[in-house]
Every structure is written in structure tokens, then in C-alpha cells.
């Protein structure tokens, strides 16, 4: 295939995902507001925010790494998204998924996080490393149930190729991993709570403790890029979960419906629970979800 067509497809795919992700973000803010008894911003508020931050006349920079931090972050979001096949059978939304398998996606997630952490670090604000330290620690903890779930999936489908995994779940709703290996899915969904950083796992941004944490020094276009990424990255993660555990999607509509409900889990939990202390959060992930993940592996490997 011509590389330029490929790139064109990628641009379309990214635009769709970004817009969807941002709308989803706005929608979630609305839901939270209602849960708190407020009216809430309009659902296109994220777009307004991005326009607003990009419109700033001056952007403060603390140095080269600071400058590159948001670039890394958005690059990470873009890359993660591009390595996931979004819609099963679609050429436009297949992205660059032939470059690698699930392991590539899992590790590319870190690309943006690491870069952002470095950029925020150069900002020199004490809250940044505080947030990052919490974030890295929590990440290492919720990666455990998630990776156990991934291993279970790999055992079940004898593949790490996302397209193959989605293909194996086609046919009936009962072919979804959700029903063939519920333990793995539960473990993964709990770790998704951590990934999405809603309460009770909102220790990284924790507005009341370490006001917004890592991106505290970010401003102007830097912040705008981060906000863009927030939409795209959320979409990428949800699509990944949909592919691994919920049978993937054969068209955009199904993708939107499935990812919305996957996200809703985090939102419901987030709106209902108070925040953990950092060590409580780490310990939580290393206990029950991990045990469920282990059961998930035993379930597929030995039964």
C-alpha cells in the first residue's frame, strides 16, 4: 500500500479518535457534575479549553526537556493509538498495527508517560515529582493485574496479535473474553480504574493535595497539547480494552457504544468512591486484582 494513503488513513483515524475522545471527556465531566449536583460545562468544553490554551500570547518554558515533555506525551498517545487496530476489518482504522503486537502497545503507553514525567521534572516544581512518584508507583502496581490479564488472553488465543485476538472473539457475544475468561477481564477492568486515574485512584492529579501534580507548570500550548492527548489517549486505551476483552468492533458505532460503556465503569466507580492514600492504592492493586488475575491465568491454562 502506498505510504501516503496509509498516512492519510492514519490522519483520518486519529482525528476521529481525538474528537470522540474529547467529546467523551466532556460527557464524563457532565456526568460528574450531575453526580455532584451541579449543572456542569457543555460537552464541547474540552474543545473550548484547547482553543483557549493555544490562544495564549506567551508560553513559559523551563528548558528543552520541559519543552519536549508535551511532545513526548502527545507522541505517546498518537503512537499508542496508531499501533492498535481500531475497527476489525477496516482498512482505514487498521492504523499501523502491523508494526507490532500487544506488547508493543503496552510498552508504547510508557513512551508518553516517561517523556511527560521528564518534562514535568524539568519544570522544577515540587508537586511535579510528587505526582510522578505516585503515578509511577501506582502504574507499577496496576500493571500487575493488567499484565496477568494480558497473559491470560495470550494463553487463551495463543497469540499476542490484537487483530487475531479480536478475530477469535467474533461470531457470538459469548466468544468475548468477558464471557470466556471473566476473571481476567475483572482483573483488567480494575486496573483500568487505575489507568484512568479516577477516584479512588486519582492520587496523581489529586487537585486538593498536590494541585494537578505533574502538569502543574504546564501552560499555553504545552497544556493545550496535553489536553488534546487526554482525549486521544483515553480513546486509545478504551479501544485496546474493547479489542482484548469485549469482542472488538466491526464499525464505528459499535466502537463508540462499547468504549462508552467501558469508560462508564470507571466513571461510576470514580463518582462513588473517595480517594485512596497512595500506599492504600498500591496495596489494593497488588492484592485482590492480582489474585483474580492469577485465577484468570489458572482458569485458561489449566482448565
Amino acid at each position: 500500500m502506498n505510504i501516503w494513503i496509509k498516512i492519510l488513513y492514519a490522519i483520518i483515524s486519529i482525528s476521529v479518535a481525538t474528537i470522540y475522545g474529547l467529546i467523551l471527556g466532556g460527557f464524563v465531566r457532565k456526568i460528574y457534575a450531575r453526580a455532584h449536583g451541579r449543572f456542569g460545562p457543555p460537552i464541547w468544553q474540552p474543545f473550548l479549553d484547547i482553543i483557549q490554551t493555544h490562544g495564549r500570547r506567551v508560553a513559559i518554558s523551563h528548558g528543552v526537556m520541559y519543552y519536549l515533555g508535551p511532545v513526548f506525551r502527545l507522541g505517546g498517545g498518537l503512537g499508542t493509538y496508531l499501533f492498535i487496530p481500531v475497527i476489525y476489518g477496516s482498512v482505514v482504522f487498521a492504523n499501523f498495527s502491523m508494526a507490532g503486537d500487544l506488547l508493543l502497545v503496552m510498552y508504547f503507553i510508557f513512551f508518553g508517560q516517561l517523556g511527560m514525567a521528564l518534562g514535568a521534572g524539568q519544570g522544577g516544581h515540587p508537586y511535579s515529582p510528587l505526582g510522578i512518584a505516585r503515578g509511577l508507583a501506582q502504574m507499577s502496581a496496576f500493571e500487575v493485574p493488567f499484565s496477568l490479564a494480558v497473559i491470560a488472553v495470550a494463553i487463551q488465543y495463543q497469540s499476542l496479535n490484537i487483530t487475531t485476538i479480536v478475530a477469535a472473539q467474533q461470531g457470538s457475544i459469548l466468544n468475548w473474553t468477558l464471557f470466556t475468561n471473566p476473571f481476567a477481564v475483572i482483573a483488567a477492568m480494575i486496573s483500568l480504574l487505575g489507568m484512568n486515574m479516577h477516584s479512588p485512584f486519582s492520587i496523581v492529579l489529586a487537585p486538593q493535595e498536590i494541585p494537578i501534580g505533574p502538569p502543574i507548570e504546564m501552560n499555553g500550548s504545552f497544556l493545550g497539547i496535553l489536553q488534546t492527548n487526554r482525549g486521544l489517549f483515553a480513546a486509545a486505551k478504551l479501544v485496546l480494552f474493547m479489542n482484548l476483552f469485549f469482542g472488538g468492533a466491526t464499525n464505528l458505532l459499535i466502537m463508540v457504544i462499547k468504549t462508552f460503556f467501558i469508560y462508564l465503569v470507571s466513571v461510576i466507580v470514580g463518582a462513588s468512591f473517595p480517594r485512596f492514600r497512595p500506599e492504600q492504592s498500591f496495596r489494593f492493586f497488588l492484592k485482590w486484582p492480582t489474585i483474580i488475575g492469577i485465577i484468570g491465568i489458572i482458569f485458561v491454562a489449566y482448565f
Binding site: 512518584a133 507548570e217 497539547i225
Partner: protein
């Protein structure tokens, strides 16, 4: 060609006449004295030469005109001439050592000394039991009298205890002699055979043997000897410990053919017990001479054991084992006792004075290394062959006891050595006075033991120059040590290049791969050492020694060659680590763990079946079915070297405390030796699967190491310790991947080995540069260095991305291969642990880069510059390597694929840049392209759109309406992951450290407990002797 009986005659005559010569002045009597001693050496040397090189038969001398048994006859054969050459020469040297003492002392000391040496000559040569008794008493009485050459209360007391103990032993000897006569009607050894004794008659042999054995100081009937060693003048102590011991041991050797096998074995075991306990008790010693005493007693025990257990083997082997232990112990011990007389520090803690006197320190090192049984010294070869015999006859208890005893010995000897090199020193300490007469014998003995070592290597083992190269390197560079270190560095680089070029044709496949890691990796790291400013004496010698031993490891053809290279590697790396400023404890721990590992390997190799081909070990071992025990022992040995969980505690200390340009060698390259070893066992393992799946457990150890290492690294404040634990973690991955024993597994192990060599070298060199500028390794004392040291920052950035496994850099390849291989193998939970560990590794990586380079710059670092060019060059060579294999993974995947293809069916498909495994695929190049794309697009956007970027000064941050006070309070760095530590709760306790600490405490307490049997009361010592004889008698059950 002088009849050796003249030794006795002349010595006696001179002894009697000395008091007359004394009238002509001390000069005359001293001339006569040294003349006679030299004459003895000369006569024996000539006979030794004739017997060895001209193959003359043994000389039998009859006395009084009769043939034996009517008269006493003397024999001078190969053994006798060797022992006599040694004792006479040592006697002469000790006399030279005592020269200043002899100038002033009473003439009787000279007479006694001559008579003593004469007695030893007689003792060795005589074949008559009663005559033996007479000579023994002559030796004893003169020795008793000489103990008070320096008359102190201690030496008097010790002398008295010695006398009553010796007297008691002699009563038993006398009884034994007369009973032998009663049962056989003869006293001449040539006319008595074992069959002459009835069952009851064995009692006579028993008494005889016990009397001699008591003189050889078995545990616990040896308290008197310790007191003598501690309190008597060093010169005389050396004579007692060396010349007398040699003589008595030879008596034991002479009567040993008469002894029934079971008695011999009991005595052998008693020797082993002596060896074990004296070394255990030595742990608690603080007095230098008493420590040597303990060691001496132990070594004699080992000597007796070696004789008892090998007596029925072929002569050349006995010569190597018994002769090896004999020469090794006695030479080293003589030299060390002499040294204690020069240094004149009773307490070991005060031996730090040695570091001001390089030549004494070197001599001390040589003798101490020899005493420890390290190569190339004779004790090493003896121990190797002895352990081999014991292992093959399945005497595992004996093997274990001897090796544990040796380990204790290593502990106290090397503790002493590290004090001498690094110990505290009083500032107003006087220089050690230079006395030629005292230094000369020590230097000569050190030289002799080296010569003997080389002789053994060349003549017994037919080793070529290449195996000797590590020693040659040290000696060669020692001669060139006056050259500035930069030139030495360049020369070393060239030498390593030549060595690599020489090695190249011998290598293929796996060897070539490790050749690149070891030799090329070392060569690049040498560039980092070029920053040294001063002379760096000794540094390059041991560095080259280490690099050569790496190479020799690869091309080793036999177990012994491999083990030799391994030990050379340990020695050289130990010395290199010891060079660090505060490395006393670290290097000691390294040495102890390495030695323990080496002993396990020694047993493992001894138990392995013989190799039946002449190709390199790594190939020929494929055709050998290793027993399970061998595999376990070897695997533990290699895992100790690679810092596996449980035996890892040496690793952070050694890596952190070594000089900063040495650490990359230790961490990035040395650890790979363990990896190489494990692969070697693996090669045998896959062709001949053992009945018990050892590698399954090795795999678990590997993944736990990876996880624990990552956690420990995250909790460090010291940059180098952090990197050290990171190495532990990474090598854990490698070990686990090897244990998978599949194509993908080995591919990942080697891929990661190569990668780790590059990024860990780069990281350590980068930190070396930072340390060079900031003079601190504590990370929270730094911060914000990115603007001052941007080049180092880039290195660290790229390296940590490569460590973490984040695409697109080479680290991801390793992660991809590892997880694929684990899942493919079915090791799901192990894979889960590795995922966890990989998540945790982000913690320490971020901590490393953030706390040093990001955040707030400290005021005191406002003016520092980029690291020196010599640190930058190697970093960027490694960076180029990482970038190259990141862009095009095939550069390394393809060759590794074919290398591993020799052992397993290939499990991956390489199609262009795309690599497909049974589970998934990875296109490194495409990933790189996409990443560059997604990185450049936002960057361009930011550049074009966001043109009004304003740079701000330090501290210009949003800080809750308050101005930050100082970098110290603004830079979040100290105890960064406190919350994680809290979350881990009880899991975060240093259990392994505590375990080893407890083990140390316990062994020291045991040592302390047992040494309390030496109450200091002479009567108790006699009781020990009597009881000892009774107990052995009961065990023997005659």
C-alpha cells in the same frame, strides 16, 4: 658431591666449636654460622639436582661400618632431598632474617640454631625409629631453648607449655618405639612392614603415630602451639612453624606406610577437623601472629589429610597435592611470620600502616593470596586435584568441611588484607624501618613461590602462554608503573586490541558473541579510564588481568582452564574493587561470595564426567551428561557471580564502592561471566536432559532477582547503588531467559546481555562523569544538572529508555523477546513477575534521571562543567551502538538467531525488518519510523504555532503565592518512594541482608565458643593431649 652425613658432622662440630670461635669475635662466629648453614643448602641442592635432573638413585648411607638393621642408616632420595632443600634453605633465610638479632644475642642462640637445623636434617634422613626419636628430641630441646630468644614473660610461658606438651608427646613416641621393637624385633623402617604387626601389635603403631600426630598439632590438642606462635620472636616462630613442621610432617610421611588404612583415614579426618576448626576459630582473632598460628595449624591439618587420602594414588599426583600444599603453606607462612616481625603490629586493625609501604604491601599480597589457595600458587592446584579425588570417591562430607574451612580462612585472611590496603592509619605513625636482612628473605620467598607456580603450570599442566597471560599482565605493568597513567591506558587499549585480534580466530558463534561483550566492551570502557590523572599504580595491570581472564574463559578447553580463568577474574576484579576509597567492606564481601561460588563450581566440575574431546569447553560440554549435583553446584556458582537473589548482597556494595571508572567493567561486563557460565551448563543440559529440572528453579530465581533488584534500586539514594541493583535486576531477566531453554529464551538472554553491556556501561560512565564534577553519589544532593551537563543527560536519557524497554529503542526488543519466550514456554507466572519488575524499573529509572538532572540546580553546582571528554567518548560509542540496533534490530537479531540456531530449532521468522514469533510480531524499523513521525509532528506544531515561548530563570514557578526558599527544599528527591515502601510493609525488610548478617554473627560466635577450650593453662593442654589420644584410640577400636 659431598656426602650429606657431613651436614650432620659439620653442624655438630661447628656447634661445639662456635663458643671457641666466639673468642675471635662475633664476626668470626657469624661467618662460621652462616657458612655452615649455606654449606648445608649447597650440599643438599647438589644432591637434589643430581636426583631430579640426572636421575641418580637414592643415596643410602650406612653408619658405623655395618649394614642396616644392625646400624643406623640414612636415606637421601627424592622426597628427602626436596624436604631438606626446603628446610635448610628456609633455615638459612630465617637465620638471615634474624641477622640483627644474632649479632647481639648470646652465642648459645647460634649454637642452638645450628643444632636445630642439624636435627631436622637427621630427622628427615634417618630410617631408624629410635634415631628418629633422638633427632626429634634434639630438635625439640633446641627449639624450646630458642623460644626465649626474645625473652618476655609470654615467650617463657609459651615455651614452658610447649615443653610439657612436647615432653608428653615424646613419652608416647618412646613407648611406641619400644613396642614396635617388641613386636617386630626391629627398629629400621626399611625392615618393618605392616604385616609384621599382629592385631594387638597395632597399639605400638598407634602410639607412634599419635605422638607424631600430636606434634602436628591436631585440634583440639594444640593450644600450646598457638601460644608459641603468638609470643615467640617472628624469626624463630617461622622456624617452628615451617622448618620443624616440615620435619615432623616428613616423619609422619615416613611412618605412614606402616599405618593401617583405617587409622590413616581417622588421622586424615582428624586433619580435616583441625583444618575446619582452626579456621573457624581464626575468625575471631585480632592478634596477627596468633591468627597466623591458627592458619598454620589448619594448613598442617589439611596437609595431613591430603596425605592420608591420596596415599594410594600415583606418585606424580601425590607430589602435586601433598607437595603443593606443603610448599604453598610453608613458604607463605614463613614469609608472613617474617612480615609480622617487620610490621610489629599485634592487632590486625593497625595493619593499615602497610599501605604506606608499597613493596611490603605487594609482598604481603603475594604471600596472602598464596596462603588462600588462589591461583597461580601451588595450593590452588593441590586443592583442585585433592577435591577432585575426594569428590570422585564421594567423600562429600570431607569436601564440604574442607571447603567451608577454606572459606573461613579466606574471610579472615582477606579481612586482614583489606585492612592492610584500606585500613585507618594513625597520622603520626612512624614509617616502617627498612632492614635489608629482614626484607630479603620475604622477597626471595615471594619470588620462589611465584616461580614454583609457573613451573607447575608449565610442566605439570602444559599450559601455554595464553593461560599465563593474566599473571604476565600484572607483572609486566608493575615494571612499567612509573609511566603516567594516560600512556599506560593507551598501551592497555592497544594490548587489548592485539589480544582481541589474537583471540578472534579461535572464536565462533557463542564465543564470538561473548568475545565482543568481553573484549570489545572492555576496550571501549578503557577509554573512560584515560581520565585518570595520577600514576594509578597497579590499576592497569589488574585491569588487563581481568580482561585477559574474560578472554581465557571463552577459549578454555578443560574444566581446569575455565576455572583458572574464573579465579583470575575473581582476583583481579577483587583488587580493582578494593581500589575504591571506601571499598574495604565491599571488596571483602565480594571476595567471600566469589570464593564460595568458586568452591561450589570446583566441586561441580570435579564431579562432572571427563571431557572426551579437544575442542573448547563450551562446545565439548554438549557431549557430557552432567550429573544433577554438578548442575546445581555450577548453577549456584554462576548465579553468585551474576548476583542472583539470595546471594546478591555483595553486588550493590562492590559496584558502588569500586572506583567510578571501574564500576562499568564490574557491572556491565563481569556479570556476563556468570551468564556465560549458565549458558555453558545449558548447552550440556539441552543435549543431555538431567533427571531433575534444575533450570526450572533457576528460572524462578531469575525472575525473583529481577523483581527484588528493581525494588531495591528504587529505594536507593546513591546513584551507583541504584545502578548496581538495576544490574542485578537486568541480569535476573537474563538468567531467567537462559533457564527457559528455548530458542526465543536464549535469543532474549543474549540480546539483553548485549544491550545491558552497552546501556549499563554508558550509565556508569555518565555517573562517573557526574561524580567527577560534583564529588557526590548521593542523588538528592544534586539536581538540575541538565543545563550544566547536557551530553551526559542525553546519554542517561537514551540509556534509561533502553533499560525500560520503551519503544522505539533497543530495550523494547528485549522485552518483546522475553515475554514472547516466557508465554511460549508456558511460564505464565514468571512472566507476570517480570511484568511487575519491568513496571517497578520505571521507578528507579525516573528517580535516577530526575534527581540528578532535572528539578532544581543546587547553588554549589552553578559553575560545574560537562564531564571530561574521556568520559563522553565511550558513552557516545555505546549510544551509537544502541541507536544502531534500535533502528535496525536485524543487526543483532540475525547473528544471534543463527548462533542460537546451533542449539535450538529457530522459533522466529525474520522477513525484512519484521520479526514474527509464534505469538506475535515486531517490526523494529517501522516502530522507529512511526515513533519519529508521531514525535516530529507535535514538535513541529509546537515550533510553528507556539512562537512566543519565554524562557524563565530558576525558581520562576507557580508556588502557591510563595517564593521557594532554596533548591534543597524545592527539589523533591530524598526518599522519593516512601509511600511505596510503606505499601510494601513487612515485605520491604532487608531479610536477606539480615540472614547473611546472622550467619556471620553465628559463625563468629561459634569460633569464639570453640576457642575458649584454649584456656591458657598448660595442664589443660596436657589433658587435651591425653584425652585426644584416648578418644582416637576408642574411635579406632583396636
Amino acid at each position: 658431591m659431598v656426602n650429606p652425613i657431613f651436614i650432620l658432622i659439620l653442624s655438630l662440630a661447628a656447634g661445639f666449636l662456635l663458643s671457641i670461635f666466639e673468642k675471635g669475635g662475633r664476626k668470626l662466629s657469624l661467618t662460621v654460622f652462616y657458612g655452615v648453614l649455606s654449606f648445608n643448602v649447597f650440599v643438599i641442592a647438589e644432591w637434589f639436582y643430581r636426583i631430579v635432573f640426572l636421575s641418580e638413585p637414592a643415596l643410602i648411607i650406612n653408619t658405623a661400618g655395618f649394614t642396616a638393621p644392625l646400624s643406623i642408616n640414612l636415606r637421601l632420595g627424592l622426597q628427602e632431598s626436596f624436604v631438606l632443600l626446603f628446610t635448610n634453605f628456609t633455615g638459612l633465610m630465617a637465620a638471615i632474617y634474624l641477622f640483627r638479632k644474632f649479632i647481639k644475642s648470646h652465642i648459645s642462640s647460634l649454637i642452638l640454631y645450628l643444632i636445630l637445623i642439624m636435627g631436622i636434617n637427621g630427622l628427615v634422613m634417618t630410617r631408624d625409629l629410635f634415631n628418629m626419636f633422638v633427632f626429634m628430641e634434639i630438635v625439640s630441646i633446641s627449639t624450646y631453648a630458642l623460644t626465649i630468644l626474645t625473652k618476655t614473660r609470654d615467650s617463657l610461658t609459651a615455651g614452658f607449655k610447649y615443653m610439657i606438651a612436647g615432653g608428653t608427646a615424646s613419652i608416647f613416641f618412646l613407648l611406641g618405639v619400644v613396642f614396635v621393637y617388641y613386636f617386630t624385633g626391629n627398629l629400621n623402617l626399611d625392615f618393618i612392614t605392616q604385616s609384621d604387626f599382629s592385631h594387638f601389635g597395632l597399639i605400638s603403631l598407634f602410639l607412634l603415630a599419635m605422638a607424631v600426630f600430636i606434634e602436628l598439632k591436631p585440634f583440639p590438642a594444640n593450644g600450646w602451639a598457638l601460644d608459641v606462635y603468638q609470643s615467640v620472636n617472628s624469626g624463630i616462630t617461622s622456624v617452628i612453624a615451617v622448618v620443624n613442621s616440615a620435619g615432623i610432617f616428613f616423619v609422619f610421611y615416613k611412618i605412614s606406610p606402616l599405618l593401617p588404612v583405617h587409622l590413616l583415614h581417622i588421622l586424615g579426618i582428624a586433619g580435616v577437623i583441625t583444618f575446619f576448626f582452626s579456621n573457624l576459630m581464626g575468625l575471631k582473632q585480632t592478634n596477627a601472629k596468633r591468627l597466623l598460628g591458627y592458619s598454620s595449624i589448619g594448613q598442617i591439618g589439611l596437609l595431613v589429610a591430603s596425605l592420608s587420602f591420596t596415599i594410594h594414588y600415583q606418585t606424580s599426583l601425590i607430589y602435586l597435592i601433598v607437595g603443593g600444599f606443603f610448599v604453598n603453606h610453608l613458604i607463605a607462612k614463613a614469609g608472613l611470620f617474617w612480615l609480622t616481625g617487620i610490621v610489629e603490629k599485634e592487632n590486625l586493625k593497625d595493619w593499615g600502616v602497610l599501605k604506606n609501604n608499597k613493596s611490603l604491601l605487594i609482598l604481603f599480597g603475594v604471600l596472602l593470596f598464596a596462603l588462600s589457595g588462589l591461583p597461580p600458587f601451588p595450593g590452588f592446584w593441590a586443592k583442585w586435584e585433592f577435591i577432585k579425588i575426594l569428590t570422585q570417591t564421594k567423600m562429600f562430607w570431607v569436601v564440604g568441611t574442607i571447603l567451608l574451612g577454606s572459606l573461613f580462612e579466606i574471610i579472615f585472611l582477606f579481612r586482614w588484607f583489606t585492612i592492610a590496603v584500606k585500613g585507618d592509619i594513625d597520622s603520626n605513625e612512624k614509617e616502617i624501618p627498612f632492614e635489608f636482612s629482614k626484607l630479603f628473605p620475604i622477597a626471595l620467598f615471594s619470588g620462589i613461590i611465584l616461580l614454583i607456580s609457573v613451573a607447575i603450570m608449565k610442566s605439570y599442566y602444559d599450559f601455554t602462554l595464553i593461560q599465563l597471560l593474566p599473571i604476565i599482565a600484572v607483572l609486566g605493568v608493575y615494571l612499567l608503573d612509573f609511566i603516567p597513567s594516560k600512556i599506560k591506558g593507551f598501551l592497555s587499549l592497544i594490548v587489548v586490541g592485539i589480544y582481541g585480534y589474537y583471540l578472534y580466530p579461535f572464536e565462533s558463534n557463542l564465543q564470538l558473541f561473548f568475545g565482543i561483550i568481553f573484549i570489545v566492551g572492555s576496550a571501549i570502557n578503557i577509554i573512560g579510564t584515560l581520565n585518570r590523572k595520577n600514576l594509578s599504580q597497579g590499576f592497569y595491570g589488574f585491569l588487563l588481568m581481568m580482561i585477559f581472564s574474560f578472554g581465557n574463559l571463552i577459549i578454555a578447553k578443560t574444566y581446569l582452564e575455565f576455572f583458572l580463568a574464573w579465579e583470575f577474574m575473581t582476583i583481579s576484579s577483587f583488587v580493582l574493587i578494593l581500589r575504591g576509597n571506601k571499598a574495604q567492606m565491599a571488596s571483602l564481601m565480594y571476595m567471600i561470595f566469589s570464593t564460595a561460588g568458586a568452591y561450589l563450581m570446583m566441586v561441580g566440575f570435579s564431579y562432572a564426567p571427563a571431557l572426551n574431546s579437544n575442542s573448547v569447553l563450551i562446545n565439548s560440554i554438549a557431549n557430557v551428561q552432567l550429573p544433577v549435583l554438578s548442575i546445581i553446584l555450577l548453577a549456584i556458582g554462576f548465579m553468585i557471580k551474576s548476583g542472583s537473589f539470595g546471594v546478591h548482597i555483595w553486588l550493590p556494595e562492590a559496584h558502588a564502592e569500586a572506583e567510578s571508572d571501574v564500576s562499568p567493567f564490574i557491572s556491565a561486563i563481569l556479570l556476563k561471566a556468570g551468564v556465560f557460565g549458565l549458558l555453558m551448563i545449558g548447552i550440556s543440559y539441552i543435549k543431555n536432559t538431567p533427571s531433575f529440572d534444575v533450570f526450572y528453579f533457576v528460572g524462578w530465581f531469575g525472575v525473583i532477582t529481577a523483581l527484588v533488584g528493581a525494588f531495591l534500586a528504587s529505594f536507593q539514594e546513591d546513584a551507583k547503588r541504584l545502578l548496581a541493583y538495576s544490574s542485578m535486576s537486568q541480569v535476573g531477566y537474563i538468567v531467567a531467559s537462559i533457564a527457559i531453554l528455548s530458542h526465543l529464551g536464549w535469543l532474549s538472554a543474549m540480546y539483553l546481555s548485549f544491550n545491558h553491556m552497552m546501556f549499563k556501561s554508558a550509565l556508569f560512565i555518565a555517573i562517573a562523569g557526574v561524580y567527577y564534577r560534583t564529588h557526590t553519589r548521593t542523588m538528592y544532593e544534586m539536581g538540575g544538572l541538565i543545563k550544566k551537563m547536557p551530553l551526559s543527560y542525553i546519554t542517561v536519557l537514551i540509556s534509561i529508555i533502553a533499560v525500560s524497554g520503551v519503544p522505539p529503542l533497543s530495550g523494547f526488543g528485549a522485552k518483546w523477546l522475553i515475554y514472547s519466550s516466557f508465554i511460549e514456554k508456558g511460564w505464565y507466572f514468571q512472566a507476570g513477575v517480570l511484568f511487575f519488575s519491568s513496571g517497578v524499573s520505571f521507578l528507579y529509572l525516573y528517580r535516577l534521571i530526575h534527581t540528578i538532572f532535572l528539578g532544581q540546580l543546587k547553588y554549589e553546582h552553578q559553575d560545574i562543567k560537562e564531564a571530561p571528554i574521556w568520559f563522553i567518548i565511550p558513552q557516545y560509542i555505546f549510544m551509537a551502538g544502541i541507536m544502531a540496533i534500535s533502528m535496525n534490530p536485524n543487526l543483532i537479531i540475525q547473528p544471534l538467531n543463527s548462533i542460537v540456531g546451533h542449539y535450538f530449532q529457530s522459533a522466529i521468522l525474520i522477513d525484512g525488518y519484521n520479526i514474527t514469533s509464534s505469538l506475535g510480531n515486531w517490526n523494529g524499523n517501522l516502530v522507529m519510523m512511526v515513533t519519529m513521525g508521531v514525535f516530529i509532528v507535535p514538535l513541529l506544531f509546537l515550533k510553528l504555532y507556539n512562537g512566543k515561548t519565554q524562557k524563565v530563570e530558576q525558581f520562576n514557578i507557580v508556588y502557591a503565592a510563595e517564593r521557594p526558599e532554596s533548591p534543597q527544599t524545592t527539589h523533591i528527591a530524598h526518599n522519593m518512594y516512601a509511600h511505596y515502601r510503606k505499601a510494601l510493609g513487612g515485605w520491604g525488610k532487608p531479610r536477606i541482608w539480615n540472614f547473611w548478617h546472622e550467619a556471620t554473627e553465628w559463625s563468629h560466635s561459634f569460633g569464639d565458643f570453640f576457642r575458649h577450650i584454649y584456656t591458657g593453662n598448660g595442664q589443660t593442654y596436657i589433658l587435651h593431649i591425653i584425652l585426644y589420644i584416648v578418644v582416637i584410640y576408642i574411635i579406632l577400636g583396636v
